[in-house]
């Protein structure tokens, strides 16, 4: 009895999937997320939590470099898939699950990784499963995933920010990483500054967006935003405004730490796109959100441009109601939160300005509620930020 093989088989029934959303390829992402929900496979929070790295769409050169760097950080047993036509999703996920359960493959991969051989086996688009050493020969597989510092600020996604910990501001390096330098903070103290990129691979984060921030503690001192591969993406045409708004709402609720409501929003989005009647469900979800005094207390007074996050959320909810077919209002819904104009999704540069002075958690909420339209920025006006 091979215990490892048995464990691999059991584990492959419910792998965690790290979804990489490519700007413009929103259709692939939606298909992927719907398939994961159907199968009950959790969405991973980061590379350490992932078994499958699933790229939804064809990444441009910038994002592709990030994906390769992140792949190096995914611990074995692991599989990598790329989903292009949304119809192929289930085939790809089955292939990934089969690869995860393949003890021969995973054993060579794990051992290979630890001995410094190539680490990058992959299940790509139409090619099915590769058994031999993979095509990522240029990424030497470093033992125990030591390598992500080399991809440092440029490519390491959310985990690149190993800014040398909390030592003194002498400059110099530790293990090839620059030390944190000192700078004055908002209370007049002199504290360490860390430079980390937010995105493009944070959970519930707009596809392709990278905000480079300077952190003191968890307060953002400086921020600069860009869209990876600006100009590379073809804008995604949403079949309906309601689905687009529900998608944004699901991401906002995820960032707000309300997984059950976020899951409900995602389920309604998928059902709506599948042509089912969802008005009653949407009305129920909106009621639930509006009634939550806890949520209101948590997001009130976080400035996001002219309005605060709570007001922007209220507008978002109203937009969903407006976009849905008329019978969505059973009358009983309590008075909506007041305030706020219809928000225009900001340009990445303006977005960055709004984040300065915010704590990390507040910054995530601001980005989620503004929900910048990366597809449009990437295709048209975003080139200047690239």
């Amino acid at each position: 009895m091979d215990l490892t093989a048995l464990l691999l088989r059991i584990a492959a029934r419910r792998p965690h999937v790290l979804v990489v959303a490519v700007p413009g390829a929103t259709g692939s992402r939606l298909a992927l997320e719907a398939a994961l929900a159907r199968r009950g496979w959790p969405i991973a929070t980061g590379p350490a939590d992932a078994d499958v790295l699933a790229v939804a769409g064809t990444p441009g050169p910038g994002l592709a470099a990030v994906v390769d760097a992140v792949w190096e950080q995914v611990p074995g047993p692991r599989a990598r898939i790329e989903v292009q036509p949304p119809a192929d999703v289930d085939e790809r996920l089955d292939a990934a699950s089969a690869l995860l359960a393949d003890v021969e493959h995973q054993r060579t991969e794990v051992v290979g990784g630890n001995e410094g051989h190539h680490g990058g086996h992959a299940v790509h688009g139409g090619h099915g499963t590769h058994d031999g050493p993979a095509e990522h020969g240029d990424h030497a597989g470093h033992p125990e995933h030591h390598d992500h510092a080399e991809h440092g600020g440029e490519a390491g996604g959310d985990h690149a920010g190993h800014g040398g910990g909390h030592h003194h501001g002498h400059g110099g390096t530790v293990a090839g990483l620059p030390m944190a330098e000192l700078g004055p903070d908002r209370d007049g103290l002199t504290l360490d500054r860390l430079h980390i990129p937010l995105g493009p691979l944070l959970p519930d984060w707009p596809a392709g967006l990278v905000v480079r921030v300077t952190l003191q503690g968890d307060v953002i001192q400086e921020a600069a935003a860009e869209v990876l591969d600006a100009g590379h993406a073809v804008p995604f045409g949403w079949p309906s405004a309601a689905a687009r708004e529900l998608d944004g709402l699901a991401r906002f609720l995820g960032v707000a730490g309300w997984p059950s409501a976020a899951g409900e929003a995602r389920r309604l989005r998928d059902a709506f796109l599948a042509g089912e009647r969802v008005s009653a469900g949407v009305a129920g979800l909106l009621r639930r959100i509006r009634r939550s005094r806890t949520l209101r207390r948590l997001i009130r007074g976080i400035p996001a441009g002219p309005a605060d996050v709570a007001a922007l959320l209220a507008t978002k909810l109203a937009a969903i109601e407006a976009a849905l077919p008329v019978d969505s209002r059973p009358g009983a819904s309590p008075a909506p939160w007041r305030g706020g104009r219809t928000p225009v999704p900001p340009e990445p540069g303006d977005l960055a300005d709004l984040l300065v002075g915010a704590e990390l958690a507040a910054a995530r909420l601001i980005v989620a509620v503004l929900d910048p339209d990366i597809d449009r920025a990437a295709a048209g006006t975003g080139a200047g930020h690239g």
Binding site: L6, L7, L8, I10, A11, R13, R14, P15, H16, G40, T45, G46, A48, D49, D51, Q73, P75, G76, P77, Q106, V110, G113, E144, H145, H148, A149, D158, H159, G161, H162, G163, G164, G165, H166, V174, A175, L177, L194, I196, L202, P203, D204, D218, L253, G254, V255, A256, G257, W258, P259, S260, G263, S292, T294, R297, L298, L360, A361, A362, R364
Partner: protein
């Protein structure tokens, strides 16, 4: 020494029960995991914990550049150990594994170890998001711990003892939840907070990609996540002797009542997570210090007056 009240012997379970305690706690934790998966609407809820454990057992461990591996691994290991040690004073039925005369203080001391543990895991990974998660838990501790201590000390005050079996005995006529409802509610909130669970999961939340646990994989993640679940179960079970009359109840034996009441408290905690969004400490700390601390002090005062009046 002579004036110390003599404890009716044998108050504690035999020594070998210490070996069974981890098994029992693990079993209850497994059931809680299944319950949580069912709550979340997973179809194969029964199989979810098994698949997750298998996944983490075969998972490769990873290290980050210039991370403090020893610190991080000690931190993760401390979580389950602290939960087990805290559970040692839990009356399982009528008697605990160790009937310490300072049981309430022992429980509190073990639970506070989690502060250090989570921070060590976050710091040890040398990752900005891990560090943010670790510090979030320290801030959370500052917010929940004082109301929590007033809540559990109110139960001890009601029984005039820090020994959990004595606290249970003192509730023979009336469960403490009746005379100290505020302390009970505050205890439930802090039980979720000490296991960074439910609305208090900011230290490991999605918005920082898993926070303190962001860089953990394989066995390291298993120990960390398992320790967190054990802590949640222990904290839920401790509500039973403190406020819910321990094993008291009609017909059934004491251990069944303890199990039933523990399951009820656990179900309540699992429900909390689905009911509320994550509470950020920059907003909660004000509520904790301005509202909860005065409330729990007033509760303790009221109970003290009742105790004095009754004596």
């Amino acid at each position: 020494m002579g004036e110390m009240p003599v404890v009716p012997d044998p108050a504690a379970l035999p020594w070998w029960s210490a070996l069974l305690l981890p098994v029992l706690l693990g079993f209850v934790t497994w059931l809680a995991l299944v319950g949580d998966a069912a709550f979340a609407g997973e179809r194969a809820a029964l199989a979810v914990p098994g698949r997750e454990v298998a996944r983490l057992l075969v998972g490769q461990r990873r290290r980050t550049v210039a991370g403090d591996v020893v610190l991080g691994r000690i931190g993760a290991g401390v979580l389950p150990v602290a939960a087990l040690l805290a559970a040692a004073v839990l009356p399982l039925g009528e008697r605990p594994v160790a009937d310490l005369s300072v049981g309430v203080v022992w429980f509190n001391a073990m639970e506070v170890l989690a502060w250090a543990a989570v921070w060590m895991v976050g710091w040890g990974s040398n990752s900005a998001l891990g560090l943010v998660g670790g510090y979030r838990f320290v801030a959370q501790g500052l917010a929940y711990e004082l109301p929590h201590m007033f809540a559990i000390i109110t139960a001890a005050l009601g029984a005039e003892s820090l020994r959990l079996t004595t606290i249970v005995d003192a509730q023979r006529d009336l469960w403490f939840v009746v005379i100290m409802p505020v302390a009970f509610v505050v205890y439930l909130m802090s039980a979720a907070a000490m296991a960074f669970w439910g609305p208090f999961d900011a230290p490991v939340d999605r918005d920082v990609a898993g926070g303190a646990a962001a860089e953990l994989s394989g066995v390291d993640r298993l120990v960390f996540a398992g320790g967190r679940w054990l802590l949640l179960v222990t904290a839920a079970a401790m509500a039973v002797p403190l406020f819910l009359g321990g094993g008291a109840g009609p017909l059934l034996p004491a251990w069944v009542w303890v199990a039933v009441k523990t399951a009820a408290v656990l179900a309540l905690l699992l429900w909390l997570r689905h009911r509320f969004p994550t509470v950020r400490m920059d907003r909660y700390v004000e509520f904790a210090w301005v509202v909860l601390i005065p409330l729990t002090i007033a509760q303790a005062l009221a109970v003290a007056l009742v105790v004095l009046g009754g004596a």
